[in-house]
């Protein structure tokens, strides 16, 4: 187990460095001169040269990359090009908890609803309930989140004004974004739970448990669910990684001041340091979650030894 953790973490480190390199290179290939952007109307070749030197942009690229990594290691994400007084780490530090809370709530909701639906479909296989859930799963997986968002906003904020259309702050502001963000993980978790429970129901030990007269509910909870839980747990972890990314669109729709807002403002203002930082944060979170999923899978499944 310890060996696997070391191996898996060892895999993650070069991947993260590679991602940082990719983001760094993209920032340097970007059209436009950041020095000119910062100075704006005050730009003169002399002032430009001074600032370029101050920012270290006149050093060789490998040196700049090494410095960039050094700064990252100290969680120093630099300052915004457009608003030099603004530290990127502060910007991200403000926005990130909002995005994480959104994703966390959505996945918690999705875990409950998805497992219920999946177990329901598996135990009621080939009934109308199963078919309905199956259709719902396909829809949930393929409908774009901004379409479901529009439908829910129309129904619950405009047609029947129960909830706010957009905005942030009050608890009611959470309901629609979390619901929208939860739809795809609900479908994802329900699909895996149905397959996993369906598989477990066919096992010999279930037949044995039934034939010795155990109540159906007891068979389900004692034998089936315990054995079907593993893939579902993994799926919930993966769903969290996806929800962090999925929150991007949801934050745009509902005008939530999360990290997507930071990224989009950065794109619109060509604020490359901020854009680089947001992409890096997303990538780090995403790979961290995947790392935890892989490790927990290895921990939970005694049959898998590396």
């Amino acid at each position: 187990m310890a060996r696997y953790v070391v191996y898996r973490v060892g895999m993650a480190v070069p991947l993260f460095l590679g991602a940082a390199l990719l983001i760094f290179v993209a920032g340097h290939l970007a059209p436009g001169d950041p020095v000119q952007t910062v100075l704006g109307d005050h730009y003169t070749p002399a002032a430009g040269a001074v600032l370029r030197h101050q920012l270290g942009l006149d050093r060789p690229l490998p040196v700049q990359f090494a410095r960039y990594l050094g700064d990252l290691a100290r969680l120093n994400l630099g300052t915004s090009y457009v608003n030099p007084g603004l530290r990127v780490a502060d910007l991200v530090g403000h926005a990130l908890p909002i995005s994480l809370r959104l994703a966390g709530l959505a996945v918690a909701l999705a875990a409950v609803v998805g497992v219920l639906l999946g177990v329901g479909a598996a135990t009621a296989r080939r009934t109308i309930l199963d078919s309905l859930i199956q259709v719902g799963v396909v829809l949930g997986l393929s409908l774009p989140s901004f379409v479901t968002a529009a439908v829910l906003v129309y129904l619950f904020a405009l047609r029947w004004p129960l909830l706010p259309v957009a905005g942030w702050g009050a608890p009611a502001n959470y309901v629609l974004p979390v619901a929208v963000l939860a739809i795809s993980p609900v479908a994802f978790i329900a699909r895996i739970a149905r397959a996993s429970v369906g598989q477990a129901l066919l096992e010999d030990y279930v037949r044995t448990a039934r034939s010795k007269g155990l109540r159906a509910s007891r068979v389900l909870f004692r034998h089936v669910l315990r054995n079907a839980a593993l893939p579902v747990v993994t799926t919930i972890g993966l769903a969290f990684g996806n929800a962090i990314v999925g929150a991007f669109v949801v934050e745009v729709v509902f005008n939530i001041p999360g990290i997507a807002r930071v990224a989009i403002n950065a794109i619109l203002q060509r604020d490359y340091t901020v854009l680089q930082a947001t992409v890096l944060v997303y990538t780090a979170l995403f790979s961290l979650v995947n790392l935890m999923v892989d490790v927990s899978y290895a921990y939970l499944n005694p049959r898998i030894r590396y």
């Binding site: 990719l22 396909v138 774009p144 901004f146 379409v147 906003v153 129309y154 996806n242 989009i264």
Partner: protein, 302 residues
């Protein structure tokens, strides 16, 4: 294709296995057996046709504004009505289909070719080359998909070419991984050894023996990927860093419709249904193709 259709006969009706069948006949039987997939395929064919000829037929252009005819309901002139600038909705949604399909089509061709070449070389060569090539794939897969596209179009600007490049970048690593794992097993087959013993060059073995045997996988993947790519383009356009106005795209039309959701929900319903139906159809057809072309897939009872 031919082989797998015969295999499916043995699955369902053993007695009919030896009887030769013509392809249209097989197609009709398939359509009867898998109605959702047939309907989805028919929708996609229709969509391609209207995307090609539609904008020429509707007697309007996607950016012709008519400020005297804002938010018109459907009429003889404007079959689906008009939008907030009095532009013909049917023309715009058809033109959006053209954009979605051509961006999705170009991106899927690009990512399939890159993924095929990358995966084939890695899988066939093995060893250090395989290791090196697949670490790069791991790196790119580690990126959350849509974010790579956001990074590229965000930094280099949202031209159609950049959108396609961004989408190719996000999609090819997964294809390369699928192809590679298949090629690793093909490499050890007897017909490859045979070809090698007969003195065939590596490019010839790859082209004549390896690529044809992963083609079915590639077709299924590509169909499913179009669904993802069309959705990704719509997402970029929705966020505002994809297709730029006045050129219409479904994602952007949906974004604009939010403003008028209360009074004119039709502005949402039309592009949203077009997008959703397209995405779902590619998904359904892709899964059906997978069940049809991949004998291992079929056993799952999908």
């Amino acid at each position: 294709m031919h082989i797998s259709i015969r295999a499916s006969d043995t699955d369902r009706a053993p007695a009919a296995a030896s009887r030769p069948r013509s392809r249209p006949d097989a197609l009709a039987r398939w359509a009867r057996r898998d109605r959702p997939a047939a309907a989805a395929a028919a929708f996609l064919v229709l969509l391609v046709l209207v995307a090609l000829v539609g904008p020429a037929v509707t007697r309007s252009t996607y950016d012709r504004e008519d400020l005297d005819a804002l938010f018109q309901p459907p009429s003889a002139v404007h079959w689906l009505g008009t939008d907030q600038f009095g532009r013909d909705l049917l023309t715009r949604v058809l033109y959006g289909a053209r954009i979605s399909l051509s961006v999705g089509g170009a991106a899927v061709v690009g990512e399939s070719l890159v993924g095929l070449a990358w995966g084939t070389v890695a899988g066939f060569h093995g060893g250090a080359v395989d290791q090196a090539l697949m670490r790069i794939v791991d790196l790119l897969i580690g990126f959350p998909t849509i974010l790579l596209a956001i990074l590229v179009t965000g930094i280099f600007g949202p031209s159609l070419a950049n959108i396609v490049i961004a989408l190719v970048l996000t999609a090819w690593p997964a294809t390369a991984r699928t192809i590679r794992s298949e090629v690793v097993s093909i490499r050890q087959r007897e017909y490859v050894d045979g070809a090698r013993a007969a003195g065939a060059s590596v490019p010839r073995i790859l082209w004549r023996h390896v690529v044809p045997n992963v083609a079915h996988l590639l077709i299924v993947r590509a169909t499913l990927d179009v669904s993802f790519l069309v959705l990704a383009e719509a997402t970029l356009s929705f966020i505002g860093i994809g297709v730029q106005p006045p050129r219409p795209s479904w994602g952007q039309m949906i974004y604009e419709s939010f403003q008028y959701l209360r009074s004119h929900p039709a502005l949402l319903v039309i592009p949203a249904s077009a997008l959703s139906l397209t995405v779902i159809s590619f998904n359904v057809v892709g899964e059906a193709l997978g069940a049809l072309l991949d004998p291992r897939c079929r056993r799952g009872g999908a």
